[in-house]
């Protein structure tokens, strides 16, 4: 308790500095870490070298002896990579107020478990047995946390959002700025249609079922915009009851986890291309980490499952464009508008909120800026190369190592989702919030499917080519 009080006081002090925001929010630390790695990689590339030695990643294998051989050959690199991540995330965690002595032991276990999963994904029979690393990470994590239990001392190392945001910044290095400019407007249009319809469905269903407006708005934003992050942003902006925010969180997490398994499964059964499936997942998943797990799973089918067209990266690229550019960046606007309505139109609560347009920037998911800067940097660095030179020189020395960093960061996150989801601790949801949210899920999934596979299918298919 004294520790929490100390943290609170430290945050109070840092709040006084206008620059404090840059060091006390994980969005900014994801930017510093992601862009820092990209900066070093680009500098080494420009000097004729590469960061690939430390960006070690498991290679395809058939027998366990191959794994042993890889570990013998690259053991030092894996140790160095652990040190790199431990220092980067450790500094970030310490700045956020997480004790480094608590973070490091937990992160060591996360790193080791992620390594096992990364290796598993490289098994040449993994696809045959449906052992996609994101799903295996999630499944094992859920099983362990809800049966054996996960000791609390591991919590500081399981920072899902910190890892996923860092991975998204690194992902920017794999998406040309021109592609974002080309695809962004379509993503925004598709996301706007689905977000408005989903929010409306949940909100009016909730009101119709007699639920409080603040709960309706919190549920609606959780389902329509950016999952748990949307729920807490709007919950705070409208002054929802604590248990209402808890209900929204529980519903989003449960449905998001269901969708991690369902969306790739249905997409696979329908033989959707990776670009189309990624767009559908980006439209109909509720949280970035959950959606990336689903999209990366589906991308893994390309080339290994007959009938799945498109490149592996297209699923993750389409997802990111749809979810991050199309939906996440608007959370501040949703929070501001709903805060204004709550302040001026809804019943009073005893707490008076101060609605302000500053909310739009204050709640903006800043890591998106890192994603865009990463994209711009790589676009600039690689613009002088023709396609052949890009494939021969840029990919192995610069793009592939950054992709390996990204895969590590995502694997840390996927593993942490399952391990931190303790279902028995969730708030009791109640039937009416469940019905209201589920109506929104149905609207969201159907509309997202129609827009991704019919209305804009040509567009998303081209993304995967």
């Amino acid at each position: 308790m004294a520790e929490i009080a100390h943290t609170a006081h430290s945050q109070a002090l840092s709040r006084r500095s206008p620059w404090g925001e840059l060091f006390r929010k994980e969005d900014w630390w994801a930017i510093w870490i992601g862009l820092g790695l990209i900066g070093v990689a680009v500098a080494l590339f420009a000097g004729g070298s590469s960061i690939k030695w430390i960006a070690v990643a498991p290679q395809k294998w058939s027998h366990l002896s191959d794994v042993t051989q890889q570990l013998k050959q690259h053991g030092l690199q894996y140790a160095a990579l652990f040190l790199l991540w431990a220092v980067a995330f450790g500094i970030g965690a310490a700045a956020l107020g997480i004790k480094i002595s608590r973070f490091l032991p937990a992160f060591l276990l996360v790193y080791l478990a992620a390594g096992v999963l990364y290796f598993l994904g490289q098994w040449d029979q993994a696809a045959h047995y449906n052992l996609e690393p994101p799903l295996v990470a999630l499944g094992i994590g859920l099983l362990v946390s809800n049966t054996l239990g996960v000791p609390r001392w591991l919590d500081p190392g399981m920072r899902v959002e910190f890892y996923i945001k860092t991975g998204i910044v690194l992902l920017g290095a794999g998406l040309p700025l021109t592609l974002i400019a080309w695809a962004g407007p379509v993503a925004i249009v598709q996301a706007a249609i689905v977000s408005l319809a989903t929010f409306g469905a949940i909100y009016f269903a909730a009101i119709g079922l007699g639920l409080d407006r603040r709960l309706a708005a919190t549920l609606g934003t959780g389902g329509a915009v950016c999952g748990v992050s949307g729920a807490i942003a709007v919950g705070g902006a409208v002054g929802a009851k604590k248990e209402q925010v808890s209900i929204a969180i529980s519903l989003v997490v449960v449905w998001a986890i269901v969708m991690i398994f369902v969306l790739p499964l249905v997409s696979r059964a329908l033989g959707l291309s990776t670009g189309v499936a990624g767009a559908w997942i980006g439209t109909s998943e509720f949280a970035d980490a959950a959606g990336l797990a689903a999209a990366q799973t589906y991308g893994g089918y390309a080339g290994s499952v007959p009938g799945i067209a498109g490149t592996p990266d297209a699923a993750v690229s389409a997802f990111t464009l749809m979810k991050v550019i199309g939906r996440d960046v608007w959370i501040g606007v949703w929070a501001f508008v709903l805060s204004l309505i709550a302040t001026t139109r809804w019943e009073r609560t005893g707490v008076q909120n101060k609605s302000s347009a500053a909310e739009i920037w204050n709640r903006f998911p800043k890591f998106v800026l890192g994603f865009l800067v990463a994209s711009a940097v790589l676009t600039l660095v690689t613009r002088g190369f023709d396609y052949a030179a890009y494939k021969k020189e840029v990919v192995p020395a610069l793009v592939a190592p950054l992709q390996a960093f990204r895969t590590w960061a995502f694997t840390f996150a996927f593993l942490s989702i399952g391990l931190t989801t303790r279902i028995r601790e969730f708030a009791s949801i109640g039937a009416r919030p469940f019905y209201a949210f589920t109506i929104g899920v149905v609207v969201n999934v159907i509309l997202g499917f129609v827009l991704s596979t019919q209305v804009f299918s040509g567009f998303w298919n081209r993304l995967g080519q």
Partner: protein
């Protein structure tokens, strides 16, 4: 009666918004989001009203505590 900025909930002793406190009070939050995220701003939990509110909010039950605002 007009309340000043310094009397906002962020400076109230009933307001809990340290990230660890928020994550402990809202189970599942850290599974797919985070109390350290920019979208949360400085929102926290009011122990008097049992509400999740913005630090810039105001209410008559204000009692000076940590000065956030």
């Amino acid at each position: 009666m007009r309340q000043t900025v310094s009397a906002s909930c962020g400076g109230c002793k009933h307001f809990q918004n340290a990230a660890e406190q928020v994550e402990a009070a809202l189970p599942g939050l850290s599974s797919l989001s985070s109390a350290y995220a920019a979208v949360r701003c400085d929102d926290g939990i009011c122990a008097v009203h049992e509400r999740y509110i913005a630090a810039s909010s105001v209410c008559p039950a204000f009692e000076e505590g940590y000065a956030f605002a």
